[in-house]
Each structure stands twice: as C-alpha cells, then as structure tokens.
C-alpha cells in the first residue's frame, strides 16, 4: 500500500505542477521556502531569496523519468520493436484520422506499383496546372534535346522556344499560325532536323581536330628534318608533346625572319640564339636524356660543368612539367626576354613569342599556324643555316649561360665575373640571385649570404686594381643593394668585419709608427656603399656608428703627405658630410681636417703655430698656390695640370666648408666652431690669386660665418613636472569573487576562482548522482511491487 501511496504522491505532485499556475504556487505560503539572509546588503539583488522546493523537485523527477528511467529500462536490451505504422505514437491524431490516412497510404502504394510501366495512362502530368499531354499535342514546342545543348551552347532558336516571353499559352497562338504554313512538318520531324544539325556541327569539329592533328604530325616531321640539319644527329625520340611546340617555335621564328630579310644585324642575334639552342640539344642527347626537352628551354647549360647542378635543374623542370606547364613556360619567357633585352632584339619577336606561349593550352589552331610558319622555315636554304651555324658557334661563346652555381669562395666569384663587362657582370649576378633564391632550396640562403661578403671583397678588389674599375662597382650597386635587403644581418656582419679589420690595421700601424697612411680607395668605396645601404641618420646603428668612428680616426690620425692624400681626405670629408647631412649631427673632426687643409694653402707659416695644428701634418705647403714666388713661370703643361688640380682641390675644400656652415648654423657654438676658419680665410688665404669662382665661394663663406658669436640664453635645466603631493585617495582593488578567495596576482586569483568553481560543480554532480540512484531505487521498488501485485 505504501508504494501505492507514493505513486499517488507522485501523481499528486505532478498534478500540482500541471494544474496550478505558477503565480498561484508562488503565492502559496506552504509551497514557498524563504532563504534567510544573514545581512541585508543594499542594492544587491538575489535570485535565490525565494525557492519553490515542491515545484523544482517535481520538475527534477519528471526529467529523470524522461531520460534516466528510459535509459534504465532499455538497459541490457539490444533491440526493440518500433511500430512504424502511420501515427502510431502520435497522440494528437484521432483514431479516425489515423485509419483514414493509413488507408490512403495503402492505396497509393498499390497504385505506384501498378503505374510503373504504363507511363501515359491515367496519371496526368501537368505544367502550370495544364495537362502536359495536351500541350504536347500542339507540337510547336520543341523539346529540349540534351545532346544539342552540350557545353551550354544555346542556339537562338532554342532559347526562343524555351524562354521567348510569355509562356506556353502565348506561344500557342503563333505556333498555331506557323502550323498552318508548314503543315507537313510535324513535331517529330522538327526534332529530327535539330538532331541532324547538331550532329553535323559535331562532325565538322571532329574533322577540324583531325586536320590539326595531321598538321602537327607534319610539323613534327618537319622539325625532325630541320633538327637533322642543325644538329647532324639522328632524329629525336618520337614523343613530342604539343606543349613543346611553342618553345621550339619561339626559337625558330627569328630564324625565318633572318632568312627572309637577310638582315645582317638580325642574323647575328638570331644566330646566337640558334647556336645556343643547338648546342643544348647536343648536350642533352649526349647525356642520354632523350625525353627531356626542357633542357633546351632552360638553355645554355652546356657551359655548366657541374653535373649535379644540372641534374637537379632538370628534375625541377620535370616536376614543373607535371604540375603546370604554363608556369614553366612563363619562366622561360622571362629568361628569353632577359636575353633579348641584352641583345637588343626587336620587341615584335618577344610579343609573338608571348602569344604562342599563351595559346599553347587554349586552342590548338594557333599551334597549327605555328607549324605552317615552321614549314616556311624549313624551306629556307640550308646553306644559310650552315653559315649561321658557324657564326653562332662563335657567338655562343660570348653568350652567357642562364644558370650559375653560387660561388663557394671568393676566387669562385672572381673567376665568374672577371672577364666580363660591367653589364654582363650585373646580368650574371642577377641570374645567380634568381636561380638561388632562398625560396627555391634550403641551402640557398647561406650561399647568398656568403655571396654578399664575396661581392664586397670583389668591389674592394675592383677599387684597388690599377686603374680602379669604379664604373663596374657602380653598376654592381643594385645587386649589392638587393642582397642587402634580402639579408640585412649578413650584410651587416660583412660590412662590420671589413670595417673592423681595416680599423684594426690602422690602429696597429698607429701604435707602431705613430702615424698611419690614408685609407685606400677600397675602404672609401666601402664607406660610400655603407652610406648607401644603411641609414646614417640613426642615433645608433651597428654599421654606421663604427663607420663614423672609422672616418673620424682617419681624419684625425692619418698623415697628409701628398696631393693624393689630400684627395683622399677630401673624399672622406665628403663622405662625412653625407653621413651627417640628414641628421645634422656635429662632426668636429671634419672641421678640423678642413681647417688643416686650408692651412696647407697658406704660404706664411706663422699663423699655423698660432692655432696649433694638432692634425699630424707636415707644414710643407702641398696645395700652395701663389702668383708671387712659388710658381713664377708655368714652365710645362705638367705644372699647369698640377696647378689646376690644386685649384680644384681648394675649390672643393671651400665648398665643403660652405656646406658645413649651412649645416651647422643652428648649433649654439656655431661661431666658436668656425672662428679659426674665418680668421684663416680672412687674414691668410691668398685669395687674390684665385680665380673668380673660388673668390666668390670665399666671400660666401665669410658671409655665412658671423664675426661676433651669436647670443644665447643661459643654460637652465629642463623643466620637470613637479612631483605631486601624496593624497589620501582610496586604493581601489577589483574583486572578482566575493569571499576569501583572493590571490595576490591575477593568475592566482583566476586559479582560485577556478578551483572554487570546480569544487562547487563537483559537489553538485555528486548530489545529482545520489538523487539519481535514489530515484532509480524507488523506481525499482515501485516496478517490482507493481509486477508482483500483478
């Protein structure tokens, strides 16, 4: 009975939940449990001040019944019966409806089976509510034929029939009119006609294709014959991809022109290409790589001694071939254009080539055209080709290969570049850079990084050789720049080592001899390159700051013994000025040196001791120029030249001083800095003897330097923000969780919070599990008692 009562209870609670509306329950003081608060906190709203234990319990039990109990019942049972009859479990449908539906379904099923093979009977198909069968009788509507409209080609007729305004109803009338005129043509006939038409088109296309095929085969044959002529070799292997054609074409096209035009210059150029091509073939075939035609395209590998390298290259190409031939061709195109740019070939060729390349995959028609062109080529007199071949062989030697191995040592680089003109050296470097781009292979980065160092060394060599080849150095600058942009760290290291080495050797000579010679031209060039590569206006820079120091050292400690030294010193001054021109930073050594140089122009030595030249400098007057006694008669041309040289040196010296005055005019001690120069220029420089431009410069400088030092406000410390007084404002600490879980740091707090949350969840889960077991136990008891009672 007890069980019965519990079941009753349960039923009661359900009833309560179901029947009574929520507000009613909430008002019922017996249902409501008020959670007592310890403290009343103003402004805090709590969700849980009122609880409805009865309602929530019944809700929980209901939920368990729906989920847990079902699972429990299904426990240890593998299958179950599912009644698939219509609406079996649907309680919303009344039994009558259910029966009706089931009946209709049954009927439908039987009908389907029956209708399967008799299409047009009984069942009516409709379109826009009209019977399709009726529509078909009108016959003017042409059924779309799936065959005819393949590849989405819609003829005007078709589109008209399908979509031509209106709909079936509108068309009916016009169709009817037509019918009156062409009575004999039934719908069936129309369809047939259409089919025939499309078939005809198809056939035409087919024949076209075949023709093209034939032409290509013909071309192949021709090509082989030409090849025989060119290479004196057995014809190549039979396989000839369509894709190879354009490349071959590209090489042959200029040839045809050469034949037709007989232009001398052209012939030469073309010959080059052809020769290259031919020899490539030789190389390939000797190598036994019969199937690999890409080698031709890559071109010029015949000079490439490195077998490994070549092999790798070819493998690469094969990969490309498989992936996308287009890409490969584009590469080739690029190279081709490079080459032509170098050889001054006409642009038309390049354009044509381009077309060929573009079209090689799209339509084969153009290929066919190409083939025809080639035929023309083949018809050209073989003798001319022979001649060209000889010329080409010679010219091919001058031709640069397309790939280079990255130099492993300085001597490699030197060997690579030495015997070429500056343009070609650039080209070589460009190509080396391209084929060793870091994205191509893993080791390339290191190779190119080394290359930068070698390049600098090479530049140094060029500068030191006699006569120095500075044009080439200048031409190489873009490459050096590019490398530097690619690897700033390596470039920085390389320049640093050079600076450090040179600085060290200078220091050593200074220690041993007490004086050092002026740096050589290679160092000057390096400094110039440094200024080009790295920003000299940075407050501190790993390369330019040492370079500054190097210049300073050279300007203060190096001896000026000859006009050459003066020249070097002036170059250093120019560099120093360039270094500081943007940042307008103060360079005392520069001014000292210029002052020292100006002293050399003065004949009376009295003034020298006055200012005391601390620059180690002999007092012999190297740049002395005077019309009084030093050069009484300009005896020879040499003297005249010497004189001009001196004058030009004086001129640049004064110009530098002028630049300095404009650069430093904002410095507080501007007047003090330039006072020695001013007195020298004003009192001692033999201006009268100089030509007018120098005299102008001289007066300009004197104008720029004020006689009296400018006025300045006395120095004061920088104004500082006053330190604020201590105020008693509360220190606000954000509290994430109320309670005692307050760590010191944010992480600790977070950790504490998570721990707390976990604990709560864990407890909650435990409670739920307990309730579940209790619920199941109760159900068990109920179920067993229920079954036993039955």
């Amino acid at each position: 009975m007890r069980q019965g009562s519990t079941s009753q209870n349960r039923g009661l609670s359900d009833k309560v939940r179901k029947s009574k509306a929520a507000p009613e329950i909430q008002k019922n003081p017996f249902e409501v449990k008020i959670n007592r608060k310890k403290f009343d906190v103003l402004g805090r709203k709590s969700k849980h001040d009122v609880g409805l234990p009865g309602v929530s319990r019944s809700r929980a039990i209901q939920k368990r019944k729906e989920t847990l109990l079902k699972e429990f019942r299904a426990k240890d049972k593998n299958n179950k019966f599912i009644d698939r009859r219509f609406g079996e479990y649907d309680q919303k449908i009344t039994p009558e409806e259910k029966i009706l539906q089931r009946f209709t379904l049954e009927r439908q099923r039987t009908q389907d089976r029956k209708d399967m093979y008799n299409l047009n009977e009984e069942e009516e198909l409709t379109h826009y509510g009209q019977s399709l069968a009726e529509m078909e009788k009108m016959t003017d509507v042409i059924d779309s034929d799936s065959d005819s409209e393949e590849k989405g080609l819609l003829s005007a007729e078709l589109t008209a029939t399908h979509f031509g305004g209106g709909g079936g109803l509108l068309r009916k009338k016009s169709a009817g009119d037509e019918d009156e005129e062409h009575k004999p043509k039934s719908r069936q006939e129309l369809i047939e006609e259409l089919i025939i038409k499309s078939k005809q088109e198809k056939r035409e296309r087919q024949t076209q294709k075949e023709e093209a095929q034939e032409l290509t085969e013909k071309l192949d044959q021709e090509w082989k014959s030409i090849q025989n002529l060119l290479a004196h070799k057995t014809p190549k292997a039979e396989r000839k991809d369509e894709t190879d054609k354009p490349k071959v074409l590209k090489h042959l096209r200029p040839n045809t022109e050469a034949v037709s035009e007989q232009g001398g210059e052209k012939e030469d150029d073309d010959g080059d290409e052809e020769g290259g091509e031919k020899e490539d073939d030789d190389g390939d075939e000797e190598g036994g790589e019969k199937e690999d035609d890409d080698g031709d395209e890559e071109g010029g590998e015949k000079e490439d001694d490195d077998g490994d390298e070549e092999g790798g290259e070819k493998e690469d190409d094969d990969g490309d071939e498989e992936g996308g031939e287009k890409e490969d061709d584009d590469d080739a195109e690029g190279e081709e254009e490079d080459e032509e740019g170098g050889e001054d070939a006409d642009d038309e060729d390049a354009d044509d080539d381009h077309c060929d390349l573009q079209s090689d995959e799209g339509s084969e028609d153009e290929d066919a055209e190409g083939a025809e062109e080639e035929q023309v080529c083949a018809e050209g007199p073989p003798a001319v080709i022979e001649e060209q071949k000889k010329a080409a062989q010679e010219a091919a030697k001058a031709e640069l290969p397309y790939t280079f191995t990255a130099p492993e040592s300085y001597s490699d680089l030197k060997a690579l570049l030495q015997d070429h003109g500056s343009d070609q050296q650039c080209l070589i470097l460009d190509r080396t850079l391209k084929c060793h781009h870091p994205s191509l292979a893993a080791g390339n980065k290191a190779k190119l990084q080394k290359l930068f160092g070698f390049l600098l060394e090479y530049v140094g060599d060029l500068a030191t050789q006699n006569p120095p080849d500075l044009r080439t150095v200048s031409a190489l600058i873009p490459q050096i720049c590019g490398l530097c942009q690619m690897f700033p760290e390596a470039a920085c290291k390389a320049v640093q080592t050079l600076l450090s080495d040179s600085g060290h050797s200078m220091e050593e000579t200074l220690e041993v001899k007490g004086r050092a010679p002026m740096p050589d031209l290679d160092m000057l060039v390096l400094l110039k390159i440094t200024a080009l590569l790295f920003p000299s206006s940075d407050f501190r820079h790993p390369v330019t700051t040492p370079a500054f120091l190097y210049i300073s050292q050279a300007l203060t400690r190096c001896v000026v013994l000859s006009l050459e030294d003066v020249c070097k010193g002036l170059i250093l001054c120019c560099l120093a000025l360039e270094f500081v021109s943007l940042s307008r930073r103060f360079f005392p050594e520069l001014l000292n040196f210029l002052l020292g140089l100006l002293h050399l122009t003065v004949s009376d030595k009295l003034c020298v001791s006055e200012i005391l030249l601390h620059l180690i400098k002999p007092n012999e007057l190297l740049v002395f120029y005077n019309n009084k006694h030093a050069w009484p008669v300009i005896s020879s041309l040499l003297h005249l030249l010497c004189l001009c040289f001196r004058l030009s040196l004086i001129d640049s010296c004064l110009d530098l001083v002028k630049r300095c005055t404009s650069l430093y005019k904002d410095l507080p001690s501007f007047a003090h800095i330039f006072q020695p120069i001013r007195t020298l220029l004003l009192q001692h420089l033999p201006v009268e003897g100089y030509p007018a431009p120098i005299q102008d410069l001289h007066s300009e400088i004197l104008d720029a330097i004020p006689e009296q030092p400018s006025q300045h406000a006395p120095l004061v410390f920088k104004k500082k923000k006053p330190i604020p007084l201590k105020l008693f404002t509360p220190k606000i600490v954000q509290i994430l969780d109320y309670g005692k879980k307050r760590g010191n740091t944010k992480e600790e707090k977070e950790h504490e919070r998570l721990k707390h949350k976990y604990k709560r969840e864990f407890k909650g889960a435990l409670r739920e599990i307990r309730k579940d077991t209790r619920f199941l136990a109760r159900e068990n008891v109920y179920f067993s008692s229920f079954s036993s009672s039955e």
């Binding site: 500075l470 044009r471 150095v473 200048s474 031409a475 600058i477 873009p478 700033p488 600076l499 600085g503 200078m506 220091e507 060039v525 110039k528 080009l532 590569l533 790295f534 920003p535 940075d538 501190r540 790993p542 700051t545 040492p546 500054f548 120091l549 300073s552 050292q553 203060t556 002036l570 170059i571 120019c574 560099l575 000025l577 360039e578 270094f579 500081v580 021109s581 940042s583 930073r585 103060f586 005392p588 050594e589 000292n592 005391l612 601390h614 620059l615 180690i616 110009d655 410095l667 507080p668 001690s669 003090h672 030092p709 400018s710 006025q711 300045h712 406000a713 006395p714 120095l715 410390f717």
Partner: protein
C-alpha cells in the same frame, strides 16, 4: 776546455786552423815560460779582420791572463818602462812578470778598442773578458796596497771601460743592456756610477753646452738600467770582488747619493727634447724613489714645465710628487696648468696620463670656484675640436668638476637671469683664469655636443639637461680608451634588427644627399 777544443780542431778542416793555432799557443804560454813570446801571436789575433778569430783570441787571452793572475805571474806595483827592462838589474822571474804585465796592458787596450767593434759578438766577448779581468785584478791587485786605502777595486780599469761604453759616436744601448747583469753587483754598480758621473762632467764640459744625442742616449741607456736596492735594511751581499772589511759602498745611503749625483749631473746639461720625454716618462717611477733628496730635481722639472707642449704635460707628474710628498710650493701652478690646455692635449700620446693628473689636481674641493669654472669652460671650449674618445673622458670629467664644486652649477643652470640671450662673456685668450669671466658664462659647447654624431658622446652631453646626480662618474677606465676599442664596442653589441636605408641605391654616386658625386666622378 782547451784539450776538448783541440781534439775538435784536429777533426776540422784547415779553415778553422786558427783555433788550433791559438789553442796550441795558449797551452805553450801557460806550460812553459820559455814560450812567453807566443803571446804576441795570440794578441795579434785580437786585431784580426775576422770576427770569429777575434772572439776566439779574446777568450784565449782572458784564459791566459786569468791563469797568470792566479799564479801571480804579473808584476805588481809601478810598472817600469819596457825599454828599461834589459837595463835594469832584475832577475829573470821579475823580467818575465814585467813582460807579461806589459802584454796584459796591451791586450786590455786592444779589448777596449774592440768594444767599439762593428760586430756585437766581438763587443760582447770583449766586455766579458774585461769584466773577468776586473774581477781578477780585484782579487790579485796589481798595485801595492796602501794601508790608507782599504779597498782594492780596479777603479781605473772600470773607468776606462765605462768611458768606452759611453761612446759619443755609436749607439751602445744593446751592449749596455748586456752590461746590466754586471750592474747587479753592488761594488761594480757603485764604481760605475761614480765613473759615469766623472765621465759626463768631462764629456759635457768638453762640448760646451752643446747637445750630443748619441752620447746622451748611451748615458740614458746606462743610467736607466741602474737600480739601487730600495730598502736600507737589505744588506749588500752581491760583490764582484770580495773584501774583508766594510767599505763605503757597503752602505745603501752611499749608493743613493751616488745615484742622485749621477742623475743630477746628467740632467744639469742641456738635453734633446725626445730625451726630456724619455726621462720624464720614467722619472716618477724609477728615478725619484731612489734619490735621497728628490727635491733637487725641482730645477730640472720647472725647466721642463716651462718648455711647453708634451714635455710640460709629462713634467706635471714629477711636479705633482714634489708638491704632494715633499712639500714643495709651486707658485702659479694652476695658472700654468690652465695655460697648458690647448687642442693638442687630445691628440698627444700621453693623454691618459694628463687627464689622470688633471683629475687629481682638480680633485680638491678647496679650490676657488672661479678657477674650477675657468677650467671647466676651457675644457668645454676645447671639446669642440676633440675626437670622440677624448670627449668620452672630457664630458664626465666636466660633470664631476661641477659636482665637486656646486658653486659652478651656474655654468649649466642659471635660472635667475631674467634677461634674454646674451654674448658669451668667457675670454678664451685670457691667460689668467681669474680674468676669464668663466663663472658668468654657460656651457653652450656641451649643448652643441648634444648633437654629436657619436651616440655615447651625445648621451653624455645630455646629462647637463637635468640636475646632476650626486655620484661622481668614474673616468679611470675611460682614460686608455682608443678609437678602435670604441669601434669594437659598437661592433660587438648584440642587435636584434638592422635597419636599412629606405631608398634603395642604383648607382654609387647617386643618392638623395650626394656630396661626393658633386666633387668627384667615377674615372
């Protein structure tokens, strides 16, 4: 030794026959007095053209005469003339000893001449032989001992030796450095010092006030090698000639006095300027501490101080010791120091030493403010031409001075003057720091250096923008900084990113701010 060489000689070919010859002669002379005349042949070799023969003969001579000294076969006392030898009524023994003494004197003369020989080995062996003779003579005196003279050191021989060492024509520094080993011995050193003194007197007196660079170099080389044992307590034990009783040179004070006199005599005469530098560099370390009364150097030092330039800078060190330790009063010391400051101080070799000393001189907090301000302002003005290494010393140094003398703070902070810009009242040309108006000026030069190209210099100059910290900067480690070290410091600094120039260059002489290309072209 002789027999062994003999056997060797037999094996050798004829080229080395002179060895055999000398050896047999030597043996014969020593074996029997009958063969005394063979000594002529030996001494003849001393004048030979060939260096090897000379060396061999020198060794033989030293062997023979040392043996004779040992036997007492050399005549003792005043030597009669060789011509009188036959006339006199002497025994054969006596005649022999007189004869041998003459030969000895001859060979000594030859050896002394050989000290001026071209080949260094000859010089060296001659020197060693002579020093052996000195030792032998000391042991077996050739003069009759006076009772009044308690010592029997061969002063005369040493004197002539020193005279030859201090050649007027030839640089003997190498041989002198060889001679140094003998100077370890106290008696030798003592007598060398006195003979050097006499020698300088004589030589310099002869060339009236003229400078003899070679001679003075030699003297300096010899003098600088002489080291008197420092402490009084340490006993003189190292002697070439052992004596029974105590003599003058047993006492350290006597040595010091001799040392002092020697140097003073040397410094009394006019010296070449590089000699000044050499002396001044070692003066405070190796000369002054060994003198009994260093204040006697004041004449020399003040003379050097007045010369100007680097010599003045160097003499500061000695002067400082005198002022500091020996209570010397030097009038206008600071004024002179002030006038020493010119742009060259940043470029001389002794820059570190100079700044070290100036730092010491100006370390006193009792100096008047005007003086310190004048120094500061002058340094600042000079800094406009200084290289970065000097600036890195100079700027902290100036800051230190201002820290030490808070009244000089007006140089970098003058808030009271309401009137606007003004001229620089400082007078650079004024010799007297008191008249230079430095205290009324400001350090605009340092302000200028804030725009210096070197980052460290600019940073150091920036410090005057804010009130200086209490702590002084340590400049001692900056003193020896060279440009290359500075460069290396920059090169070794780890940098994460390397900025590159924004504009990429296309040509060598074509950039946005081209100066070089204006004046020069690529040809």
């Amino acid at each position: 030794m002789a027999p062994s060489t003999d056997s060797n000689v037999k094996g050798e070919n004829s080229q080395v026959s002179y060895k055999k010859d000398i050896n047999t002669k030597t043996d014969r002379v020593l074996q029997n007095k009958k063969h005394a005349n063979d000594i002529f042949d030996v001494t003849e070799y001393l004048q030979s053209e060939k260096d090897k023969e000379v060396i061999f003969a020198t060794n033989a001579c030293s062997k023979i005469f040392c043996q004779l000294f040992y036997r007492g076969d050399l005549y003792v006392g005043d030597l009669p003339e060789e011509e009188d030898l036959m006339n006199g009524d002497r025994s054969a023994e006596e005649k022999y000893s007189i004869f041998m003494r003459h030969r000895y004197n001859n060979s000594v003369e030859l050896l002394l001449e050989n000290i001026g020989h071209k080949a260094f080995q000859v010089k060296e062996t001659s020197l060693c032989a002579l020093m052996k003779f000195v030792a032998a003579e000391g042991k077996h005196p050739l003069q009759n001992l006076d009772l009044s003279e308690h010592y029997n050191f061969p002063r005369e021989l040493l004197r002539t030796l020193v005279e030859h060492l201090l050649s007027e024509n030839e640089d003997m520094s190498l041989l002198i450095s060889r001679f140094q080993e003998f100077l370890e011995m106290d008696d030798v050193r003592y007598y060398v010092m006195s003979s050097v003194r006499d020698n300088i007197y004589r030589v310099m007196g002869r060339n009236k006030k003229a400078v003899i660079p070679v001679y003075q170099n030699n003297v300096f080389a010899l003098l600088s090698t002489i080291n008197v044992p420092s402490s009084e307590a340490s006993k003189m034990k190292n002697f070439l000639v052992k004596q029974e009783c105590k003599f003058v040179y047993y006492r350290g004070i006597e040595h010091k006095r001799a040392f002092e006199q020697m140097w003073l005599v040397f410094l009394k005469f006019k010296l070449p300027s590089n000699m000044y530098k050499k002396i001044l560099v070692i003066l405070h370390e190796s000369i002054m501490p060994q003198m009994s009364d260093p204040t006697l150097l004041i004449d020399f030092l003040s003379a050097a101080y007045d010369i100007g330039g680097a010599i003045s800078l160097l003499s500061l060190n000695g002067l400082f010791i005198l002022i500091h330790k020996h209570n010397l009063d030097y009038p206008d010391f600071y004024k002179k120091l002030y006038s020493l400051l010119d742009p060259s101080i940043f470029h001389v070799k002794y820059r570190a030493r100079f700044f070290h000393l100036v730092n010491i001189f100006l370390s006193s907090t009792h100096l008047p403010a005007y003086l310190v301000a004048a120094f500061v302002k002058r340094f600042a003005r000079l800094s406009l031409t200084a290289p970065p290494t000097s600036l890195l010393i100079l700027l902290p140094f100036i800051c230190n001075l201002i820290r030490r003398h808070p009244s000089c703070r007006v140089l970098i902070h003058r808030p009271s003057t309401a009137e606007g810009p003004c001229d620089d009242p400082y007078v650079m040309k004024e010799e007297d720091p008191a008249q230079s108006h430095a205290l009324e000026s400001s350090l605009w030069e340092i302000k200028t250096l804030q725009k210096h190209y070197h980052p460290d210099v600019a940073k150091a100059a920036m410090k005057i923008n804010d009130p200086l910290t209490e702590q002084e900067d340590d400049i001692s480690e900056l003193l020896e900084l060279s440009t290359f070290e500075l460069m290396e410091r920059e090169l070794k600094a780890e940098r994460k990113t390397i900025p590159l120039e924004f504009d990429t260059a296309t040509e060598l002489l074509k950039s946005s701010r081209e100066v070089l290309g204006v004046h020069f072209s690529l040809e």
